[in-house]
Amino acid sequence: MPLKWILHWQPNAGTTVNSQILTEVSQCAESINGTKDGRWKSTITYYKPMSRDPNAPGEYPRDFLGISLQEQPNKYYCIIRGQKIVLEADSSIQMIMEKLQSYKSRVSLNFEGFQYKLGDFKVRVGKVVVSHNESLRGIVMEVEYLPISSLEKSRQIMEEFVDIWQETISRKSLPGHFMHIDTNFTEYGLSDHYSSQHTAVQYATVMAQLLATVRS
């Protein structure tokens, strides 16, 4: 499958993200001849362990992430970041987790916006919002390169595209920039050949970064 890089908006120190930035970023996609090509949405849900005795120690992680991706509507991805595990499952795993009553879904974040077609690339720009609450928590973008599935072989062209994108954004003098975190997929047991599990891992990385930004 085509590979993707997922980038997030890193506000300058002392500034916060706002919907005006999202509008301007979307305009940038159009200004480099991107044609609007429908909407996209991904969702991350935090699952927290439930314990019979909150004071007793338990051998389990603090949380795990459940991720649904538009590219695989019948699949669900579970990630335990501390142990670098990504599990690919059918969507029904969500109902199984509910029945087990060992972990409870606490909060969901939606990543949603528009996708743009630019030749061999697809760019998706969207907002990060807590479900049932429209306030903006962040901005993310996906850059998908359609012809290649190898992370290594596509690295140069992806870097070049991101450079052009950053240059376009910088002309707007916005208070921040897009950031790409190079994820170590090998730690998760994933190969160079791109899959939706790679996408899920990138979302988990971006999520951690967004939380760190909010906290700081």
Binding site: P61, D90, S102
Partner: protein, 217 residues
């Protein structure tokens, strides 16, 4: 949810059962070799203790994994009166690291089994699956190549069919009706209710084997 009945059959009559099932089905059996791992929630995990099964299909060229959760049986006077168990059952195909994932979540291995046998699928008022398997235990952890039979001479027969809240009456009827075909060879009842082997099994098996010359149809 699913409808389920179970029964046991002596290993010597399994060939006859296979002939009967193949005659009813019309297509060859599907071989089964399933490594089943039963996991239970660790101490203090979850508001209640929970159990989940990981099934690894070893018959596939590349083994595939499934998570299965079997819930409680339907209760009430209506459920008591029917001869088929109706229970919630959820499954999800998962990647091969499912065991590591559940260990990391705080689940522990309770026991593991290797089920070896065959299955037939039918469309008779419902999507009915019949499995005939022997249960094998591993002498060493996960050593499926060195498994030994738990009950030599006896195999488990399970008849299941997926159902939903709005059609389980029809599915129960379809399963009950299907069980009548197998009645000469074995008793099928709700899981946990042991009815043993049937006295007519030997005669029925002999009859089946003689009409087909002892070969699968």
């Amino acid at each position: 949810m699913e409808c389920v009945v179970q029964g046991i059959i002596e290993a010597q009559h399994v060939d006859a059962l296979e002939i009967l099932l193949q005659g009813l089905c019309g297509v060859p059996k599907e071989r089964l070799r399933i490594h089943e791992l039963c996991l239970k929630s660790g101490a203090n995990l979850g508001t209640v203790s929970s159990e989940v099964r990981l099934l690894c299909d070893l018959e596939q060229p590349v083994p595939t994994w499934t998570v299965r959760h079997v819930g409680g049986a339907m209760k009430g006077a209506g459920a008591e009166q029917i001869s088929v168990l109706v229970r919630t059952m959820l499954e999800s195909k998962v990647s091969k690291n499912a065991l590591r994932f559940f260990y990391a979540l705080g689940y522990k291995l309770d026991h593991e089994l290797l089920r070896v046998g065959f299955a037939f699928h039918f469309q008779r008022g419902a999507r009915i699956t019949v499995t005939v398997t022997s249960a094998n235990k591993m002498l060493k952890l996960h050593a499926t190549e060195e498994a030994v039979q738990v009950t030599p001479g006896i195999q488990l027969v399970e008849v299941t069919a997926p159902a939903a809240a709005d059609n389980y009456h029809d599915v129960v009827a379809a399963v009950s009706s299907f069980c009548e075909y197998l009645a000469p060879l074995l008793h099928l009842s709700k899981p946990g209710i042991s009815t043993g082997v049937v006295p007519t099994a030997a005669a029925a098996a002999t009859s089946l084997m003689s009409t087909t010359g002892g070969k699968a149809l």
